[in-house]
């Protein structure tokens, strides 16, 4: 019998309970940086640093979804998963989520070309996000699907973020939060599908453990990104050479 911090995972219901407990404990809604962001405690430069670094994550989501598609023999799963690529990249008249994210960055005063160049991204952001893409590329398909399950907890963070940003930051407009409004519908649909998938396909305790560990891994990926932002831009740990420096803030590591 497998025993974990989250129970023995002896059934699909036990797995789902464990997944919800993992989220309750480890989802980045609890990170101090998000609390600062959502309650208006950051300055414009710090919000810029967040949007810029989070862009790198957004930019890799369609790549990780394509990686999943590329190893999936199940046409039904591919058809279902394809909608994620459309959501993020758009097609035809649909602009997609990445364009909405870039609009948030522009609204915050960041040059979109600079954002897209990825020049100012913290190395720690790249290490964490790249680890996610590779996880989806290299682990089992079940674990790859499971690593998307942080979306189970996304609506709550968006419900907190949208009014938080609009209320506390004069430089944030309704148009700039369009990305998050859109995710309020998209994320539950995707998460519902992924949850049903892992409930059905994780048919041994070992597979259920793999699913739980995939979600823990993904929570770590999200959490580590905020650690790095908090360290570099709030706690004064220093901004790595080459990374984004908010106006008026010297890079601690400058030679």
């Amino acid at each position: 019998m497998i025993s974990t911090r989250y129970g023995a995972l002896e059934s699909a219901d036990a797995l789902e309970a464990a997944l919800r407990e993992i989220g309750a404990e480890r989802y980045h809604i609890h990170h101090p940086f998000h609390r600062l962001l959502h309650t208006g405690k950051l300055d414009r430069g710090q919000v810029q640093a967040w949007a810029l670094n989070r862009y790198y994550y957004q930019s890799r989501i369609p790549m990780k979804d394509a990686a999943l598609l590329s190893r999936c023999k199940d046409r039904a799963l591919r058809r279902e998963w394809l909608v994620r690529l459309l959501d993020h990249d758009g097609m035809g008249d649909q602009e997609g989520g990445i364009v909405r994210w870039l609009r948030l960055c522009s609204g915050l005063g960041l040059d979109p070309d600079y954002v897209i160049s990825e020049e100012g991204i913290l190395p720690a952001t790249k290490f964490a996000v790249d680890a996610y893409v590779r996880f989806v590329r290299e682990r089992t398909l079940l674990e790859a699907v499971a690593s998307s399950l942080t979306e189970l907890f996304a609506p709550k963070i968006h419900e907190e973020r949208i009014p938080g940003l609009l209320k506390h930051y004069s430089f944030v407009s309704e148009e700039m939060v369009a990305y998050f409004r859109r995710r309020l519908d998209q994320a539950p649909r995707d998460a519902g599908f992924a949850l049903a998938y892992v409930r059905e396909h994780a048919d041994t305790a070992e597979k259920r453990l793999g699913v739980a560990q995939a979600l823990i891994f993904k929570c770590d990926v999200l959490w580590a990104q905020l650690d790095a932002l908090h360290y570099a831009y709030v706690l004064g740990g220093g901004i790595p050479i080459g990374a984004f420096v908010p106006e008026g803030q010297p890079s601690v590591r400058a030679a």
Copy 2:
């Protein structure tokens, strides 16, 4: 012509000058966490956290060196590089550097089985170190060799570290710093070879740029590991659930 922060890289000499400048600016000897470590400003739990996380890096070095060997058609280069595997893993009577590192961990009061289990490692450490192994696996052989060039700057950090640890921490003994004493000879030999190799094989400005960028990448890998330690164990950013918690220190994220 290629123009970088470190010059135009128009020759092997220009490349070497750039590499030395990159090290002077970005090598982790300058990181605030190392300054604290070497000047006796950390407590035992913080030194344990450092040794534990650094173990993960040590443990992956032979794997990245094997990755390099596995894609190297040049027998002369393989023969030269093989010595690194011997240095770290040992053979026959030679115990190798990883055993010496584990002895440091034991001396600090960490259970070697716990260290080897990798359970307490910070996620950010894993993301950074894994990025290094994959870099060596996926980039050109020249870039893979170049990413080892931080060893050019290692003797200086060891010369600072050995007396620093022995002087400031009553719980550090001569036996525990054996790893670093050994590296004083090994690192310059390896770095000298790698430097000669990149000087010879980086025969276009573009290749020289790749070499410089590989060293920058590697400096980022080392730096990010200290950022994560500094954040979690010194600045109070919080210890991720599951990561090592020094005796008497509560995990900030505990549920």
